[in-house]
């Protein structure tokens, strides 16, 4: 493998993440006169919401508006793209200092390693699925709901008989797409009860308006038309099969999502879509050193920031679902706010000028955030659900660490996540704890009976696995 080291480049503004927040921020910053670098690990901009364009059967009631907005921000970005240094297929793996980052990209003849530095930085790293391990969840055929949604959008239906399980509105969207793609859905198992779902719908009314709420009902109606059973207050407790999923067990749960004995139902399915909403990715904000807080209401760690989207580190901003989960419409507005504030700090525009122009964005954001919190509360896991794990259930998929091994580590004196990590290798594999790290605090509390010890895995470089050549360059 050949290695190229490209000289260091300096920009007014570096934006990490080319999703809705990132490309809107880039467009805005260029218009305000800043020199901009945009980095994304994918081969395209648009993020996970927009990148699949119209390849798959995307026909849901909310997809039309999504496609229109996606096309619009893409068009705005394309118009100024020539003035942006766009690094695609490129991983950010290290922070040399708060605003100098190490990148590497795989090229045809080897890897390319680079350092770029910015006077300001916007981190828009997006979100991923919230998961709860269950027996059999590592079997091929179990997909995260978001992952399955991406596959269907790409025109691929990886199974014949589906179970859609977990919580949150994405269940309905995925079910809708599966129906349109001609797949058979055996059942939808929603952890929330009907009462909770209806209450959430009413609470959303004021923040998203009747039109978008109706699109939710349209989804349900379409599912009803197919006579697909929707089981409420149910969680999946088991997937089984030899090399792939052959069946799944669901069980009724109480208000804290604790499984109720002797209510099991076995379903003949070969594919499972599973997830509990989304949580913000904080890999890079943590590596950069921004301050984070645990939001007990939402059930995840989030980065702290002010009204200007600036984090605890001056000149480092966040935007989009990497901050809290609110969806693309809010991400776009946050990208706009962050880029504008960066431009103010860089001296490209005066503060007086922007306060007026940002007023509509701030107003919209307020509404979107309220909606985000309501949806988050519906999706967030409740403590009882942890009882679906048994001793031999794998928690860390990468290092194949079971719940039993975590229990032994705690019995041996481990007191927090980093302690368990050192003793069991949990979180040391390829995904670097992104999956198992989500619920590890809660699992440890189960054994210690003490919920004061709350920690995050200490962020380590490389942020994503990099070839050895990149490190030795």
């Amino acid at each position: 493998m050949r290695l190229w080291i490209v000289q260091m480049n300096e920009f007014d503004l570096i934006i990490i993440g080319g999703g809705p927040a990132g490309i809107t921020a880039a467009t805005e910053a260029v218009h305000l006169g800043a020199s901009v670098a945009l980095v994304d690990e994918n081969r395209h901009v648009g993020g996970n919401v927009f990148h699949h364009r119209s390849r798959g059967p995307i026909t849901g009631p909310s997809d039309k508006i999504e496609t229109r907005i996606g096309a619009q921000i893409q068009k705005d970005f394309d118009q100024v793209k020539d003035r942006i240094s766009v690094y695609l297929n490129t991983e950010v793996w290290n922070f040399i200092d708060k605003k100098t980052i190490s990148l590497y990209a795989k090229k045809n003849h080897g890897i390319e390693e680079k350092q770029i530095t910015g006077k300001k930085l916007i981190i828009a790293e997006g979100a991923f699925e919230r998961v709860v391990p269950f027996p059999g969840w590592t079997l091929p055929g179990v997909f995260s709901i978001g992952g399955l949604n991406a596959l269907i959008k790409g025109g691929v239906v990886p199974g014949k008989r589906f179970l859609v399980a977990g919580s949150g509105p994405l269940q309905l969207v995925v079910a809708h797409h599966l129906i349109n793609a001609g797949a058979k859905i055996e059942a939808i198992a929603d952890a929330a009860s009907l009462t909770e779902t209806v209450a959430t719908a009413f609470r959303s009314l004021t923040s998203i308006g009747a039109q978008r709420l109706r699109s939710g009902f349209d989804y349900i109606q379409n599912i009803r038309k197919q006579k697909i059973p929707i089981y409420r207050a149910r969680v999946i407790t088991k997937a089984s099969g030899i090399n792939e999923v052959e069946k799944a067990t669901i069980v009724r749960v109480d208000r804290s999502w604790r499984p109720i004995k002797e209510t099991e139902k076995v379903l003949p399915v070969d594919a499972i879509a599973y997830g509990f909403g989304l949580i913000p990715s904080t890999t890079l904000t943590r590596l950069c050193g921004c301050r984070h807080t645990y939001d007990a209401h939402l059930g995840y760690w989030r980065v702290e920031h002010n009204n200007q989207m600036e984090t605890s580190i001056a000149g480092v901003f966040v935007a989009g679902d990497g901050r809290t989960i609110k969806g693309y419409a809010a991400a776009i507005e946050e990208g706009r706010v962050a880029a504008t504030e960066a431009a103010v700090q860089l001296g490209h525009i005066s503060r007086n000028e922007v306060e007026h122009s940002l007023a509509p964005a701030r107003k919209k954001l307020k509404r979107f955030r309220r909606f985000g919190r309501i949806i988050d509360a519906l999706s967030a896991t409740r403590p009882g659900v942890l009882e679906i794990l048994s001793d031999d259930t794998i928690v860390c998929r990468c290092e194949e660490v079971t719940l039993g091994k975590i229990a032994s580590a705690v019995a041996d004196g481990a007191i927090d996540v980093n302690d368990v990590k050192r003793r069991t290798r949990l979180g040391m594999g390829h995904c670097q704890g992104r999956i198992c790290g989500q619920l590890i605090n809660e699992l440890i509390w189960k054994f210690t009976g003490d919920n004061r010890a709350r920690a995050l895995f200490t962020p380590r470089i490389p942020a994503k696995p990099v070839p050895f050549e990149a490190l030795t360059g």
């Binding site: 690990e41 994918n42 081969r43 996970n48 390849r55 798959g56 059967p57 991923f128 699925e129 590592t138 079997l139 091929p140 055929g141 179990v142 997909f143 995260s144 978001g146 992952g147 399955l148 991406a150 596959l151 790409g154 025109g155 691929v156 990886p158 090399n243 792939e244 990715s281 998929r397 990468c398 194949e400 040391m428 594999g429 390829h430 995904c431 992104r434 999956i435 696995p465 050895f468």
Partner: protein, 93 residues
């Protein structure tokens, strides 16, 4: 649906059809193949998160191990092998 140009790729000596614009993972799943890797304990693994977070879908692509197939486009003539972690010198760099 996409009508991208079709070509062949090889997976463990089997030839399957792929389409321009598809990732390797999408091509394999579209052909009904779901087991991508075997862990050190020989457990089967396949696509899980689909967005490059979980690293479960990694395979050997054109001789390079640990390639996330959900992030890597299928290209004409590319050769893919099921990855057996136990057989590798070092699966955790």
């Amino acid at each position: 649906m996409d009508s991208g140009e079709k070509f062949e790729i090889k997976i463990d000596d089997i030839r399957i059809a792929a389409r321009k614009g598809q990732t390797i993972a999408e091509s394999l799943l579209a052909s009904g193949l779901r087991v991508f890797r075997r862990t050190k304990q020989n457990a089967p693994r396949g696509v899980y998160c689909g967005i490059g977070i979980c690293f479960e879908c990694r395979m050997i692509v054109n001789g390079i191990p640990n390639v996330r197939t959900c992030m890597t486009p299928a290209e004409p003539g590319c050769e893919i092998s099921t990855q057996y972690d136990a057989a590798m010198d070092c699966t955790n760099e």
